[in-house]
């Protein structure tokens, strides 16, 4: 190999190494920050969700809905439709969650009943502690 070719190769390797060394920090920087996303649990007074009513809340950055259904107790679901991310609404008469964008419907377990959503709604654990509802 001639000197010029060797120097070109060496410069290319060093340059690409330097760029590569930057790629990882840049990739990590652009990923969502776990500290900002992680919400371990959320607590609200039990009285804020009377029987047969719903309440909308933010769980970290996720909009959620809490319901108190007579036979099933307290339930909490992500309101984000698994089809394209619109927020579902609870239809009291039909006892279903309906997505206003493409009419996807989910039952009280969060399972898909009809429409295009590929997965059930994300479910959150709810427990009662000292008169409070602890979600998550």
């Amino acid at each position: 190999m001639q000197r010029r070719g060797f120097l070109k190769l060496l410069t290319s390797i060093l340059g690409l190494s330097a760029l590569g060394a930057f790629a990882y920090p840049l990739f990590r920087f652009l990923l969502p920050v776990e500290a900002a996303l992680v919400t371990k649990n959320l607590s609200i007074p039990k009285g804020e969700v009377p029987v047969n009513t719903t309440k909308d809340l933010m769980f970290g950055s996720t909009p959620i809905i809490i319901l108190d259904i007579p036979d099933k107790g307290y339930l909490a679901f992500s309101k984000v439709c698994t089809h394209l991310g619109c927020l579902v609404k609870f239809d009291k008469d039909r006892q279903e969650f309906i997505c206003p964008c493409h009419a996807g419907t989910f039952d009280l377990e969060g399972n898909v009943v009809s429409g295009p959503p590929p997965r059930p709604l994300r479910k959150f654990a709810v427990r009662v502690e000292n008169g409070n509802l602890v979600i998550g």
Binding site: P25, L26, L31, A35, A36
Partner: protein
Amino acid sequence: MPRLREWLEIRIGLDELVRSQLTDYRVPKNINFFYTLGIVALAAFIFQAFTGILLMFYYIPDEKDAFQNILFIMNHVPYGWLFRLMHVVGANLMVAVVLVHMGSVFFLASYKKPRELTWVVGALLLLTVLGFTLSGYLLPWSQLSFWATTVVTDIPSAFPLVGDLICKILRGSENVSGITLNRFFALHVAFFPFLFSSLFALHVFLVRRIGISAPPLDSQEPEEWKQFHHEGHPDGPSFYPYFVSKEAFMVIIYLIVMFAIISLAPALFIPHDARIPADPLNTPEHIRPEWYFLAPYEMLKLIPNRFLGIALQLVLVVVFIFWPFMDKSQKTNILKRPLMMATFLVTIMVYIGLTIWGSH
């Protein structure tokens, strides 16, 4: 690649462009590393733009959130500290590079006819860089940034009649507030980048249109410039790869200095007061501006009359911008001009002296 090259050749005449602008474009044979500082300044601007855009992914220009955002970027965002320190250190290095560039252009008398306009645009670029640093200084919303901005935005109030109005327009309120933060953020991320890019494009156009000036120190005095022509250097080395490799080498040196500071002295440009959230009810003691503003800051302190001090500085700025129109001498070799040499050295010594004085 050959197909892409051919595609471009048919459409934009790529080969002729490369030949005329790069490989056949000649630079003066005795060109030195001072001539690379313009490209280093451009590289510094690109790094600042890149890291600035990354910081905007997390930063919120709001008086309640700004400082916490900075802490979040530094402590929680993966490698946030790296990109923020690159931005902070890069800002200081960029000012240093532009100052040395201007100093070398002055020393080598490259501002003389026909390059007066190139100098004027360059001086405006320096002022734009200082505008960048001033507007960016407030954004962390720390004690230092808040009170330094209070002092700076109060300066125009020394002028009668319009002073208070200018002060209020800058701040957007009676005192520095969240509105000021929004205004400075807009200036920092929208106005100054646009201004800098436009001026830089004009600067490069002028340099290319007129031709690169030959260093005068070991060459004969040039003939008098009577009409426009491109000043070529047919006996000099090529712009690419010869000069471009020199420029690339200097950009690497710039990066080495930046990362050396980030690694060895990360808090060099983040003093104690820059790590405390802004408190509009409590002015910290011994508040001082960044190193490049220490000289004018000390000069303001030395001149008892505030209006006189600020007016004198404005006059100096105007003299600096229009210097090529005041220095009419045909001679370019500063070594043969003792008075000019003395002016140059005294100016630098006064600037350094006032900077050291101001830092104590």
